[in-house]
Symmetry: C2
């Protein structure tokens, strides 16, 4: 079974039609053993340098949001003026190198267990994310 057909299955299973554009985006995002972080613009450049047939920026926005909603991507709270996404959807944390302006994964095993003692009535914890800023 080739790559494309795997992504077609994945898309169909998610209720998303397997269009040429979405399959290409899957190939760029998921056809690698390494996960990575990206902004929409970086992804757009990556995709459009890889293929001669361009994908519009609007489609890239649409698709990234769709994939995020389906849980195939995570958005990382970094509070820059642009959104950052992560193909690593496992429970993990981040270093942010403020000099290089680069995100680096911190596996869950790189961080000790995080205890939250405070409770808010009627609310439950959805996620716990640690951002460790690094400087020279």
């Amino acid at each position: 079974m080739n790559l494309a057909s795997i992504y077609i299955k994945k898309l169909r299973n998610s209720g998303l039609r397997p269009t040429k554009q979405r399959i290409k985006i899957c190939e760029v995002l998921f056809n690698t053993d390494k996960t990575f972080h990206f902004s929409i613009n970086e992804l757009s450049t990556l995709i459009n340098s890889k293929y001669s047939q361009k994908i519009s920026l609007a489609t890239i926005y649409n698709t990234v949001h769709a994939f995020k909603d389906k849980g195939y991507l995570k958005q990382i709270p970094l509070n820059a003026n642009q959104a950052y996404f992560d193909t690593n959807i496992s429970d993990h944390h981040h270093f942010y190198d403020v000099n290089e302006k680069k995100l680096i994964d911190l596996d869950n095993s790189d961080v000790g267990p995080i205890k939250i003692y405070k409770k808010i009535n009627g609310k439950k914890i959805k996620s716990v994310e640690v951002l460790v800023k690094l400087e020279d």
Copy 2:
């Protein structure tokens, strides 16, 4: 010694001229026992509802950035499409209630000690921030 003169001293000590605008902004931000979180627009509304003489949005941006640079405010990585600031400059963490879209302080004592086992050569830790998302 009255409030204004305290802020005048604070501003002078920071190399910032004590203008009417900056003193007012200090009063709104720091003249309270409770710390709080705000976006620039929320702060602008707060200030301009409290005083008849309005302060321009540009000045509020300038001043918030100056205060942040001086360490009188913290910016909170929330990755919304707007910046959030905190008058609580102590080392602490946050709950983010995704339903109410509200930030809640987590004192350092509300969170167990955070161990970071991974090291990056030549880099040192500048800050460690935990964001705990809450849902109903």
